[in-house]
């Protein structure tokens, strides 16, 4: 059984201008020890999806339909008290902007020790020692001195490691890392990715890595899921997603990224992310697609398997397969 299995997740936000479907019909699953890269532009719904898993969607947003089955329980229908036992404990989040996620007026030692007191029921002194161990486990040198420092005294990379340490405090089964390398220097980012990869191998925790950087995905992830305007357009194993993507959006994404290993003709993705207000009833990529068909503007494509670990939501791809078959 998968560690987590999401089916048909749809999240809606009510605004003055009308309902906005930030996430529509997302399906994916994760096995223990797997690292999934959740890729997409700003506004694609990746963070909303992650927050839904943690049941952190608050009004004016709400989960409209769908199920998120984690270790046998559907998180969508679980009562808040049960979710709280899972949040931070079994499923942990490493948020964007680590420095702002840390409390600026409390030492990081107290922040991390508090987590051990809360989740493991430890006494403060024992929790402090565990905190030091946790910082060392994420590669922070001179950990006992760092425990007494404040967030502003730490570099960006160190803050990120602290957040990861805090997320790991309760030995979660699922770790969600939201843009963990954005804003970090390349070499620091590389080390953070090493850390995450290592974690996946050591602890058997699954990781959802939210990013817009395909290079990051290539270095760390086993599988990739690509989102566009709230919809999941393609999922698959890393190899096939980066070498032979089927969905036009994934293909466009790859062509729009400059590389240091070869010269490519940069092709920006045409158009812009469509407004989610009064979203099209059909495929939300139709407006930007190079070869839309008539059916694309009216009917939403469903995610269907085209390979052993490769699913695409695209009418054109399905039509081609039907022709070939």
């Amino acid at each position: 059984m998968s560690l987590i299995d999401i089916r048909g997740l749809t999240v809606q936000f009510t605004t003055d201008a009308g309902p906005v479907e930030a996430v529509h019909g997302v399906d994916f699953s994760l096995e223990p020890g797997e690292i999934l890269g959740l890729v997409g532009e700003s506004g694609s719904g990746k963070t909303v999806t992650a927050f839904s898993i943690l049941r952190l969607i608050r009004p004016p947003g709400r989960i409209v339909t769908g199920s998120i089955v984690f270790e046998g329980q559907d998180l969508v229908i679980l009562p808040e008290s049960a979710v709280r036992a899972i949040r931070g404990a079994k499923i942990a989040l490493v948020p964007q902007s680590p420095r702002t996620a840390l409390n600026p007026v409390i030492t990081i030692g107290r922040q991390i020790a508090r987590l051990f007191e809360l989740h493991a029921g430890m006494a403060p002194s024992a929790a402090w020692c565990r905190g030091i161990e946790a910082l060392e486990a994420v590669g922070i040198p001179d950990a006992s001195r760092r425990m007494r420092q404040y967030a502003h005294q730490l570099s960006g990379g160190t803050c990120q490691r602290v957040m990861i340490a805090m997320a790991l405090a309760s030995a979660p089964r699922l770790l969600i890392a939201d843009e963990p390398t954005t804003g970090l220097d390349v070499s620091i980012a590389a080390r953070i990715l090493d850390l995450l990869r290592d974690l996946g191998q050591r602890t058997d925790a699954a990781i959802i890595l939210i990013t817009h950087d395909l290079g990051v995905v290539a270095e760390t992830c086993h599988r990739v899921a690509v989102m566009h305007a709230g919809q999941l357009v393609e999922t698959g194993a890393l190899d096939v997603m980066l070498r032979k993507p089927a969905h036009p959006y994934t293909q466009a994404l790859i062509r729009s990224i400059p590389r240091i290993d070869r010269d490519i003709a940069l092709e920006p993705i045409p158009g812009s992310v469509p407004s989610l207000l009064r979203a099209s009833p059909g495929c939300r990529y139709a407006g930007r697609c190079p070869h839309p068909m008539a059916i694309c503007t009216n009917v939403k494509p469903t995610l269907s398997a085209i390979g052993s670990d490769h699913s695409v939501a695209c009418h054109a791809v399905e039509a081609q397969r039907a022709n070939v078959a």
Binding site: S155, V186, L214, D239, I257, P258, I260, P268, I269
Partner: protein, 335 residues
């Protein structure tokens, strides 16, 4: 090609303030932050020089020194022969017509209370004698050049998306037809899918307006695309400078090699040999003589304690490292 910009021994030292610093100075402990410590380079007209390096290397300080937004401590900057570093206040203001900058954070760089039109028009009001109608025409022209519709002229920054804001920044920088533009991390605050669009825009503008760029970025792949030559900075000095192709295919300095090996490539299974630098970036106040990378370099030897200069290893390819011989041999074994 004629040289447009010439920088010679540029240095910027910041004095640390506060009581602790004063007592340290009395005890003879150095308290200057040497953000930029003697760099020299040239940019030819129409060329794009890329400047890469990680946080704290001094590249943003270099940008600000070039425009004298921050006063250099030492060194000379010449724009087509005019000594920028020696200009008086008024002359400097007039020179701003020719040297412009695109700032990193598109939101912070735009005045929240000014409309797009007003901001783009301002350089024209300050530096030209154009009539309002002519100014309006120029503004519309430059908006079109950066790919924004004329209807956005009356908008305010908060009504624009990140990509649009950055284009407004670019429009403001080019409206006075400058010769030289410093691009300070122009894509860092943008979504990765918008970056390529902006890079292509910068390329198109460069070609159509004949602009010369200093392209500062930590997005090394973008620099590879846009720049003709690249300089790598570390702790306030340039450690390597070469033509783009040469730098990426044959990096010589250990820092450059470490940097390039850390850039993720969107190709599965490309686990390259990573050259890691040990430790963290040291503080800029207590720099020992000799190579600044010494404490972290996997190839360091005793010779590295001696001061090191940029040497031309092969024509056009300069590096500041004791361990590269004049034939440009690459180091392969870490000590």
């Amino acid at each position: 090609m004629r040289t447009l910009l010439e920088v010679e021994d540029l240095a910027k030292h910041f004095r640390v303030g506060g009581l602790a610093a004063i007592t340290e100075r009395l005890r003879g402990i150095p308290t200057e932050v040497r953000a930029v410590d003697g760099i020299s380079f040239r940019i030819a007209a129409g060329e794009t020089l890329g400047l890469v390096g990680e946080s704290g290397c001094g590249k943003s300080t270099v940008a600000r020194c070039l425009l004298r937004l921050v006063e250099p401590t030492a060194g000379a900057i010449r724009l087509e022969g005019i000594k920028v570093t020696e200009l008086g206040r008024r002359a400097l203001r007039h020179l701003r017509r020719d040297m412009q900058m695109v700032f990193q954070d598109p939101t912070a760089a735009l005045n929240p209370r000014h409309s797009v039109k007003r901001m783009i028009e301002e350089p024209l009001r300050l530096h030209t004698e154009l009539l309002p109608a002519q100014r309006r025409e120029r503004v519309h022209g430059v908006l079109a050049a950066v790919g924004l519709g004329a209807e956005l002229a009356d908008r305010y920054p908060h009504e624009l998306s990140g990509g649009q804001k950055q284009r407004v920044n670019i429009a403001r920088a080019i409206v006075s037809h400058p010769r030289f533009v410093v691009l300070d991390e122009p894509t860092s605050a943008l979504d990765v899918s918008l970056r390529s669009r902006l890079i292509l825009l910068l390329e198109a503008l460069r070609d159509s307006l004949g602009l010369t760029y200093l392209f500062i970025s930590h997005d090394i792949a973008s620099v590879r695309y846009l720049a003709h030559r690249v300089a790598v900075m570390y702790l306030g000095v340039i450690v390597e400078i070469a033509e783009t192709k040469v730098l990426f295919s044959n990096p010589l300095h250990p820092y450059t090699r470490a940097l390039l090996s850390a850039v993720p490539i969107p190709e599965p299974g490309m686990r390259r040999q990573r050259i890691s630098l040990s430790g963290e970036v040291p503080s800029l106040t207590n720099l020992s003589p000799g190579c600044r990378l010494r404490a972290r370099c996997p190839f360091a030897t005793a010779k590295c304690a001696e001061p090191v200069q940029l040497r031309e290893i092969t024509p056009g390819h300069w590096a500041a490292c004791h361990l590269i011989d004049t034939r440009g041999a690459n180091l392969t074994t870490p000590t």
